[in-house]
Symmetry: C2
Subunit: 204 residues, 2 copies
C-alpha cells in the first residue's frame, strides 16, 4: 500500500444517451458486452462468470480488484444483496437512511452507513484492501460523491445503444459543470472503455 489515500472511482456501463438502466431497472442492454466475447472472467467472490472480448478482459479484471465498495440502497436492493455477501468479498458499505429489517441484529458482511455518503467514503478508504480503489456503485450515490468533491475517477463502459429513457448516471449534477481529464480509451467489441479523472469543478 502506498502512502497516498485510495482513489474513489465509479465504474458503470452506460448507453450512448446516458442511461445505466431502463425505467424498470433492467441493465440487460447496457451489460450485453459482458457476454460479448469468449474470454471467461469470473467474479472474485460469487459464482458468476462473464465472457468478454480480449480487449475488455483486463479491464473487467481490474474492475474486480477494488479495495472496498460503497453502494447505494437502491442498487443494493436491486441486486438483492448479491445473495448475502459482497460480490468481490471486500469491505462493503451500504449507504441508507435506515438499516433494512432483514439485516438488523445479525452478523453481516455489510456495514450500513446511515450518516451520509461522506462518512461511507471515509470508512471505505480506511478499510480498503491493499490501498486499492474504493468503488462507488449506484448513480445517485456516485453523483452525491461527485458533487461533494469525493470522486477521483470515472470508469465508463460506453455501450452502442440509445435507450431513450431510464435511469441516468449524470442526472443529479445540479447544473455545476465538471471538467474531466481523459486518461485512457480502450476499444472493446461493441463497448468503449473510457477512463476519466475528475479535474476541476467549474463555476456555474
Amino acid at each position: 500500500m502506498s502512502g497516498s489515500e485510495p482513489k474513489v472511482v465509479v465504474e458503470m456501463s452506460m448507453s450512448l444517451d446516458g442511461f445505466v438502466a431502463t425505467p424498470d431497472h433492467s441493465t440487460d442492454e447496457v451489460h450485453a458486452w459482458y457476454e460479448g466475447g469468449d474470454v471467461a472472467v469470473t467474479m472474485p467472490n460469487i459464482e458468476l462468470t462473464f465472457h468478454v472480448d480480449a480487449a475488455s478482459a483486463p479491464i473487467v479484471r481490474d474492475a474486480f480488484e477494488l479495495g472496498a465498495n460503497v453502494t447505494g440502497r437502491v442498487t443494493f436492493d436491486d441486486a438483492q444483496a448479491w445473495g448475502g455477501d459482497d460480490p468481490m468479498g471486500i469491505p462493503s458499505f451500504i449507504v441508507t437512511h435506515r438499516i433494512p429489517d432483514e439485516w438488523k441484529d445479525r452478523d453481516s458482511p455489510f456495514v450500513f452507513v446511515t450518516d451520509g455518503v461522506e462518512s461511507a467514503i471515509a470508512q471505505a478508504k480506511a478499510a480498503a484492501r491493499y490501498g486499492r480503489p474504493v468503488g462507488v456503485a449506484g448513480g445517485d450515490i456516485a453523483m452525491q460523491c461527485l458533487r461533494a468533491g469525493l470522486l477521483d475517477e470515472l470508469w465508463i463502459h460506453l455501450v452502442p445503444v440509445l435507450l431513450g429513457e431510464g435511469i441516468r448516471l449524470f442526472d443529479e449534477l445540479d447544473g455545476s459543470p465538471v471538467r474531466l481529464r481523459q486518461s485512457r480509451v480502450v476499444e472493446g467489441r461493441q463497448v468503449v472503455h473510457l477512463f476519466y479523472e475528475v479535474a476541476e469543478h467549474l463555476p456555474r
Copy 2:
C-alpha cells in the same frame, strides 16, 4: 458516385453527460478540442481554421467532406447563417416552418424546406456532391431523422466534461430504443471520436 444512395450522418461534439450546448447555446466547452492541438485544419468555404491533435485531424477533414447539409432552423439562426453561405460550400437545406424574412425574395445559397425533414433529406440526397454523405446538423433535426428511420450513422466527438444542464443531443427519442453498431473508435487529445451505424429500432 457509386450506385448506392448517400448516407445520412449526424456529426456532433457531445459532453460525457450528453449535452451539445449549454442552456444559453454556448458550445465553447464541447468544441474546446477543435483548438486542442497544433495541426491546422481549415473549413472548405469560410475563413476558419482549427488546430487539432494529429489523431483528430483526419477525422475533422473527413467531416468537412460532406455532399450536402441539412440544418435545423435553431442551428441556422445560432450560426447566423454562417455569414451568408454554407460553411462547406455544398448544397445546403434549412428545415424551417417559415422562410426567414431576410432570405425571402433574393438569391440565396440556401434551400429553405418547409415541408418537413423527410423532404429535406430526399432533396439533400439527390443534390449531394459526388454521392458523399448528407450531414444533419442540429439536435432536434437529427433526432427527427433518427425517429423517422432516415439516419444511417452517428459520428460523435465525446468530450471529457460534464455540463450538468443544457441542450441534449438525444432528448427527443420518445423512449424507443435504438441499437447501434460501433464501427470505429479514435482516441484524440481530450476527445474520443465514436462512429456508429444505426442498426435496429427495438420495440419499446
